[in-house]
Each structure stands twice: as C-alpha cells, then as structure tokens.
C-alpha cells in the first residue's frame, strides 16, 4: 500500500497544472473564443482521448496519468476536454473496437477535434431499463437499412450531428438480446425528426426522435448485423476511473460547508446543529468512500485484473449524493432555498435550487439505481436474474 506518486507521475501533474495556469483564465476574463482555443490547445497536448491508442490519435496514456489529468482538470473546474462527451466516452471506443477501417478514419478524428457531437439512441417509449427489448426497426433493402421507429429521452439530441442508434433487425428471436444492430446515423438524414422535451428544471437537453423511412447505408453499421447488444455492452463497459467525479463532489461539499457556515436555522448558526453536522459529515463519508473505492479499483486495473461490475458501487453512491446534497442545501436555506435565479433571496444565485431539479441527468441517465442494484446482486453476489 502506497499513496505516493512516482517522479514521472508528479512531473506529469506539474505539467497539467502549469498548462492550466497558463491557459485557463478566470471566468470573467474569458471571451467568446476561449472555448475553441482551449479545445485546440488540449487537443494539441494529446489530452483528448488521452487513453486511446496512438494510431487513432490518442496518447496511450496510462491509468494513473488519466487519473491525474482528470483530477487536476476537475480541481481547476476546467471546461471539458472535448465537446462530444458521448463520442469520447463510448462511441469512439466502440468504433475503435468494432468499426471498419473506413469508419475509424471517418469518425474518430472528428470526435477528437470536437467537430462532431454524438448522442445515443437507446431508450424508446416502451423500453428504458429493459433496453434489450427495443423495437425501433431497421430493414436491409439493397445497400441501405431503412429505419422506422422512435427513440425518446435522448440526451443531447437537440444539438448533436450524429447518433449511435440501437435498432432491431430481427424480430423472431429466441433471446431479446439477439437481432439487435447498431447503426451510425447523421441527425440531418431525411426522415429524422427531433422534438425537444422540456425537463422539470426547464431545460431542453433531451428529445424524442422519430425515424420515418430513414435510409442508412450499410457501411454505417457498427459491428455485424445482430451483434448490436454485444457492441453496446462492451462500449458501456468502457468504464472510467471515477476520480474526476470524486474531485468535483469534494468541491461541491466545500461549497455546501461554506453555505452551512453562513446559514441560520431557528435563529442559531446551522453549523452548531448536530443534525446538520451529522448530515454534512455523512456526505463527506460517502464521497471519501467513493474516492477510496475508486483507488482500490484503479489498483486492480493497474495489476491487470479486469473491472467487472464494481463500478456500480460508486454509481449508487453518486446517485444518492446527487439527490441528497442539493436537497439538503435547499431544505437548509428554507424559503430562500426555493428561489430560482433572479429571486431576491436566491441562494448562491439559485444554483442549489436549479441542480435540485436536475439530478435525473446523472441518476437516471446511465442506468437507474435499481438497475445498478440488479447488476451488483446478479453479477457480484450471484443472485438469479429477475
């Protein structure tokens, strides 16, 4: 057991810090070109797709360096390293693993250069958690698949240029996991209609998408026909260290403590209230648990042992923290806590009340907590499937 970093690792951390201090001006001083300049510079550093193989334009960065990079970026509250979050998280890795040479040439550079934003067409009106039961139909006619069906709650759909789409190419199957095919579809293809959906926080981040006789050339199929489930599972299994998230959550905890210090409850300083102290300490306890769970899993990976479903542990912690921390801040600040941005008494610019309405982005987006519990119970504890 050893929590020290090697000289090379420390030097890399210094390099990241130096880069941040030179290239990340305070928010007020950022002009409208800032983000583009930032994206170009981090790309030139090789930090976009940092872990990807060099042949695809990545840097083949090691696990610890990835961790350091995420940690430092999160500490500095830096903008993301690319605008295609899903492209970098799973579409790119999926294409590198299952794509044809032509697909790799066509799609990978644009993801790394933040030229193209991807969304993910999984959920349908009748199939969310039960993802493998999807019905969106793709039929091969000559050199094209013809897609008909609907996706919904597709995050990023209103502004994405491409979608990685799960379709059903075969309906008469023994297992619902068979007969699924993964297609890469431009969002401006004729027959694709996006209708944004407003969420409870008032944002329009997700949408329903209708596909009517959309022609998708067969060369845009990712993996073999019928292999879509395998492609999806292995893309989603491209698990990342949760260290960056943990750093963000520690920062949020600090904000929460600052709020506690200036807040009064029933006329007395809130920070003297035993129940407030206990609650804040429990947040710290869970975030620290995420940190040390993450470091244990990272150590496993470094030793070459594959991670299986352990990452669901931290996903469950994150889900409960995402809900509870904002909820706590809102309750703590009483009627002022209710006010949104613009309210005379709004707390911290209404940021707590806003995020208290935005938790489903994280909590439901990557698989609901009950799905994570199924994964843990079935894959780690050996319980029979539902």
């Amino acid at each position: 057991m050893d929590f020290d970093y090697t000289a090379e690792e420390n030097a890399f951390r210094e390099e990241v810090r130096k880069f941040i201090s030179e290239n990340l001006p305070p928010k007020k001083e950022r002009d409208k070109n800032f983000l583009n300049t930032w994206l170009e510079k981090v790309r030139a550093k090789g930090w976009v797709g940092f872990s990807w193989p060099k042949e695809f334009g990545g840097s083949a960065g090691g696990l610890i360096e990835q961790t350091i990079l995420r940690e430092e970026m999160a500490l500095a509250k830096a903008p993301p390293l690319g605008t295609s979050m899903m492209g970098l998280a799973w579409v790119g890795p999926g294409i590198m693993e299952y794509g044809t040479e032509e697909q790799k040439r066509k799609f990978i550079p644009d993801i790394l250069d933040s030229k193209v934003t991807w969304c993910t067409g999984y959920s349908e009106p009748n199939h969310g958690s039960d993802l493998a039961a999807i019905q969106c139909k793709a039929e091969l006619h000559g050199d094209n698949y013809v897609v008909n069906g609907q996706k919904i709650w597709t995050t990023g759909a209103p502004w994405s240029q491409w979608i990685i789409l799960l379709t059903r190419t075969q309906f008469d199957v023994e297992s619902k996991h068979d007969g699924i095919t993964c297609l890469l579809v431009p969002m401006d293809a004729p027959g694709v209609e996006v209708r944004p959906i407003e969420n409870m926080a008032g944002d329009k981040h997700f949408a329903e998408i209708f596909f009517t006789d959309v022609q998708v050339p067969v060369e845009n199929r990712l993996g073999a026909e019928g292999d879509g489930w395998k492609v999806t599972v292995s893309a989603l299994a491209n698990e990342r260290s949760s260290i960056g998230e943990v750093t963000q959550m520690f920062a949020k905890l600090e904000n929460l403590k600052e709020l506690v210090k200036v807040t009064y409850k029933q006329g007395k300083p809130a920070q003297e209230d035993p129940s407030v102290r206990r609650k804040v300490a429990q947040f710290e306890m869970k975030i620290a648990a995420m940190k040390y769970n993450g470091l244990r899993y990272l150590t496993k990976q470094i030793k070459g042992e594959p991670l299986t479903s352990e990452t669901s542990v931290n996903k469950l912690h994150r889900a409960s923290l995402e809900i509870e921390m904002d909820d706590f801040a809102v309750e703590l600040t009483g009627q002022a806590g209710l006010q949104l941005r613009g309210g005379d008494a709004a707390v911290d610019g209404g940021s707590w009340s806003k995020s208290a309405l935005n938790w489903p982005n994280v909590v439901i987006g990557g698989g609901t907590p009950n799905i994570q519990r199924n994964i843990i119970a079935e894959r780690l504890l050996g319980m029979p499937k539902d």
Binding site: A281, E284, A289, V313, N374, L380, P384
Partner: protein
Amino acid sequence: MNFGFTEEQNLLRDQVERFMQDTCPMPRVRELSNTGGFDEALWKQIGELGWLGLLIPEAYGGLGLKWIDQVVVLEAAATGLCPLPIASHALASTAILACASDAQKSRWLPAMASGEAVCTLGLYDDANWIDPSAITASAKASGEGYVLGGTKPFVNDASNADYLLLAVHGPEGLALAAVGKEEVRITPQPTMDSTKPMASVDLEGVHISADSLVPMTQEQLSYLTDCGALAVTAEMVGAGEAILNLTSDYAKQRIQFGKPIGQYQGVKHRLADMYVDLESYRSLCYFAGWCADDDPQELARAVSLAKGYASDAFNQIGIDGVGLHGAIGFTAEYDAQLFLKRSKWARPMFGDSDFHLNRVASLGGL
C-alpha cells in the same frame, strides 16, 4: 499509487481465514463464548504463528509489522467471529509502544509478543463518552508507588487477560496503570455478544509499584482510541463479509413462491445495498489502517470516516442478514444471529457514529 495488499498480506489473510475454518470453526466459537472461556491451546498456537506480536518490533521478539497488517489479521479472524482477545492484545501492545519507557518495554513486550502474557486495554469509564473526562478511575501517590481508586466498568476481555492496562487520572495527569489479574477484582458482565467478553474491574485500594504507572498524554489517549476504533472497524469488515456471504448463499437456495428468494428485487436489492456499504467501509478502513503508521496526521479523520460509516452500516447489515433469512435467522442454533450480536457490540465501541461523524464535521471546518 497502490491501494492493494502485498503478496505477504494476502497470504496472511488466507492463513488466518483457514485457521478460523479449520481450527476454530463456528461450533468451537460457540462453545468458547458460551462458557466465557478462553482456549489456551488456540492462543498458544496463534502466538507461535506470530499473530500476537505483529506490531511489536523484532528487538522485543515481535514481527515489527504495521497496523495495516494487524487490520488484515483482525478482519480475517472476524470472518469466523474469533472470540480470542487478539484486538485487545494488539491495543495493549500499541499502548506500551506509544507510552512506556524503554525499561518498561523491555520488561513487558517480549512476553506480549509471544502471547505468553495475555493483555488488554481499558480506557473510558463512561458508557458513551470519548473524552479524558470520561476517565474516572484514579491513581494517587502512596509510599514508593501508587494507590488506585474507582472502577473500570467496561473493560474488554478483562476476564481472560493476565495483565490489564487501565487508564487513570494520576498525580501528574493521565496515565495507564499496569495491573496483574490477581491484583484487581474482575467481574464478568453479560452482554449481547458473548464472543466479546466484557468485565468490570474494581481498582479501589489496589497498590501498584512506581514503575507500573505509564504516563499518557491526551494525544496518546486519542491515538489509542483511534487504533481501537480501527481494530473494531477491521473486525466489522470481516464479520460483515461473512454475514453477507451467509445471507447470499441462503437467498440462492431458499425457494418461495416457486423461485429462489434471491430472484426477488425486495431481497436482491437489499443484498446489493449491503454489498455497497460493506465495500465502502472496507475501503475507508484500509485507508485508515494505512494512515496509522504512514500518515498519522490524517488518522483521526480517516478512522472517523471509517467507523462512522461502519457502525451504522454493519448494524443494518446484521439486522438485514437476520431479517432476510426469516425465522431461521432468529434461531439460536443458526449462525446469522451471532453476527447481528457482533454488530450491536461494535456499534458504540471506541465511539459511535454520532461521535465520529461529529469529529469529521469539526475536522472539516464546521
């Protein structure tokens, strides 16, 4: 960066777990705990294996290892609810190493390292207060030595110890009085968990020699309390894992309404939550174990995060472990209930979750 165990530590863990399965299996644990007894042969055996002198430097006949190695042993021993006073003995060793003079170390440590002298440590006299003021026993100067006063109502493993190190307020401040079992009046107390014997120790009027009093600073008291909480948390990791395994195995086999009960989400989700909590306080415990020797500045916070989590989580794991079994879990003959009892014992020991979480809040600036 490496948050994993060494080959040697993994071998040690396997060795202790095997010992529990083969040499001190659950029927033997029950026999021992029912009679409040102490198995000298078993104790001698683990002494020969070196487990009782892990923390003691080689110069005094120990192995000179660290608390993280002690955590490995305590965790593995607790998978079988080991009733032997390994934790108390380790804490007494830590107290001597932290507080005693070289002469005292030379006098006591070799017999502790081999296990020849069974030792324990008694700190606080209030049922639920971690503070120097919660030590009410006293030592007053008397002739060449001291005369002790008061009672230590809650001393772990006192009935089975040859020597007891007991916190007192002495003429010069806090101190540990080293007394032999013959010198004091030890009264075993029945508790919910018979695998963890507890006794009161009456010190009133007991005379000890000058070199049997070991001065202790408040920082040292605090350090020993942290090591105590760490030891108990390590045992909660092992015992938590064992009851989770027992309950998972049962959920796979028990058929109701035509299906294994582990197929129902009401059962499997509870098991998943038990797993999440266990893995989490496990990680916090290992980090605290590392801090004990390698980052003592961070120990208080690390221990409080770990014990603050484990105290309540393991308590719930004990309740759900019994509850998910149904009536069989409630049956004396079945082992699940023994783990529930251990969780009750561990909860207040060296500070409950309120104490530890409040300390986390203070250390975090509130």
